[in-house]
Amino acid sequence: MDPLITCNQCGNQVARLEFCIRCGDPLTDEYGAEQVREQRRRFAAAPDERLNAVALVSTLFPQLPRADMRSFRLAFAAGVAIVAGLALLGFYPIALVSAAVLVPLLMVLYLWDVDIYEDEPVGIIGATMLWGALAAAAFAWLASGLPAPTGFGRANLLDTLIAGVWLPLLEGALMIAGPLVLLRSRRFNDVLDGATFGAASAVSFSGASLIVQSLPIFSAGLRPAGDPLPWVIQMLSFGVLQPVIAAGAIGAFAAAVWLRYRAPISDRNALGPVGQPALALLGAAALIVASGLAKTLLTIIPQTLVLAVIAVVALLWLRRALHLGLLQESREIDVDGEIRCPNCGLMTPEHTFCGNCGISLRAVPSSRRSATADVPAKAETD
């Protein structure tokens, strides 16, 4: 925090005290305005976090109430530790499977925990993830049929374009194809629906593709020969960075599509470039191609660093798309009674945001919105 504050009365920057040390004006208004600015920089789906924070759990699982975020963070940390531990011990095939299922398993757990589509066909999200897995299997089969997937030889431009550009774009197209089918249904009209479908399809595709393409190494025994350190790095890339890039790029593109064609908003241009499907498509393609080229051209350490940067960009983009979508969707709703906020447990007028904790009530499953109206608050201190 800046140690100084600008006094509205005299315009000077002064120490953060109760009164201006230059003109004696009370600084209450200045602190209030500063707090408003600060509140506006909060993420609508998790108001205790900044909009531009690199927060994996609240971005990939935006409908998690605050009480569950910690559990998911712990589960994620445990998963990362399991993957790294297995790789360090030399159980590479098992570490690979664990890395492949780390984020998809959390996604399944998230969907079960928040029960987002309780009033929809049971398999809607399962079908989205199944699509991702089946498409990945088909993709892996196609990729295995391409000539010279690996080996020596001089850098070949065509091979590089196939491996670094064409195949990643095909992957992205397959990831989004399944969720786009759901765009026709008017039941799924929230930006969070689009983002959830896109992210779920992307992470299941990412995990399944890894397992299917790596099947031959399962015939090398439990502990194939190899130095553990590169494996640990590569497994964390497979388990965390690559699913995050896929989920970020595809989820943000799907969010833009849903915003444009499904969300009940009056002024779609207010979202700026983030809400334009054509630009979002270009952005997603750029992230996917950058990631593909990094994997094709760079050795493990620089590759991991570049992928980490791309993952951060993808995560922030998805977060901003979700945030703007949640803000815009608030325009056309009337105040309709009071409900108990599932995030903070306090009563609030039923609109788009909780008046007490600031969470977007659209970022809370509808089942919890309706079910919490008459339930007494069970506040816990954690």
């Binding site: 299922v101 780390l102 029960d115 001089r154 994997k295 447990g345």
Partner: protein, 272 residues
């Protein structure tokens, strides 16, 4: 009007944290156990020893029969000494005859690959190896027709030592393979590395091969050797996918290395 300085306390979670973490870890462990079972079912058998203890063991033929090599047009005169002499005859001290000069053409067992600027050559069996497009005077890359394998011959001036050339080749290999470590298995050991009958140095490594996008796709074995004649330093790399896969009497790596012998034995260091 002020804003709350801290968010209100969170309500109780729908599912307890312990449940969520236990379900997640349990799910991961379940999938890990399934993966372990799958791996154990598909685990390769240890390679059968070439010879059984206490039994006569004939060496295996390392190269396929040579096909299509031209027969020598002229043969040299035999130089045998009569096996027996008439009774009473004495023998003059044996003087070895001069080595006959052959005018027969050089025996070529396969295709000849020659570098026009660095002046070295070697032969290969085109039925066993396919030359990759784009070979240059200093590098030739071959794909095995039958096995999942690659062979690379690379030559540089002798200012680069064999050890340095091996290190360079390992740098390239590290872009294709993850977790490369030395293969200490006696069964895979490289015995007396030489190229074109010039002694060299080399070793065997193993790891997991990567696809172009970095996905681990198969266990890999790599044999790298290099030698120098004072004019050139040459390296030979034999990269094998699934090296321990059983192919008849031995492993895939052994079979490929057997086929690679042809390159090493036919290597001509100076074709000028």
């Amino acid at each position: 009007m002020g804003f709350p300085s801290a968010p209100p306390p969170a309500p109780a979670a729908k599912k307890s944290p312990t449940t969520i973490i236990a379900l997640f870890v349990g799910g991961m462990l379940t999938l890990a156990v399934l993966a372990i079972v799958y791996v154990l079912i598909n685990q390769p058998k240890p390679p059968a020893p070439g010879c059984e203890p206490d039994k006569v063991c004939a060496p295996q033929q390392s190269l396929p029969p040579v096909n299509g090599s031209p027969s020598p047009g002229v043969t040299s005169v035999p130089t045998t000494v009569p096996a027996s002499l008439p009774p009473g005859a004495t023998t003059a001290p044996f003087v070895p005859p001069p080595t006959p000069v052959s005018n027969s053409p050089v025996v070529v067992s396969g295709e000849v690959w020659q570098s026009n600027t660095l002046n070295y050559s070697f032969e290969y069996n085109p039925n066993a190896w396919e030359l990759q497009d784009g070979a240059t005077d200093d590098t030739a890359v071959f794909y095995s027709v039958r096995f999942d394998a690659q062979l690379v011959i690379h030559a540089v001036p002798a200012t680069t030592s064999p050890a340095e050339l091996i290190a360079q080749q390992l740098g390239v290999i590290d872009t294709l393979m993850i977790g490369r470590i030395k293969d200490t298995d006696d069964y895979d050991a490289l015995l007396g590395p030489s190229i074109g009958f010039v002694d060299g140095e080399g070793d065997v490594w193993s790891g997991v091969l990567l696809s172009k996008d970095g996905t681990p796709i198969a266990p890999g074995g790599v044999t790298v050797m290099a030698a120098t004649d004072g004019r050139l330093t040459v390296s030979v790399v034999v990269l094998v996918g699934s090296p321990d896969a059983d192919v008849g009497p031995g492993t895939q790596q052994h079979a490929v290395r057997g086929q690679a012998d042809e390159f090493l034995k036919s290597f001509d260091w100076d074709t000028r």
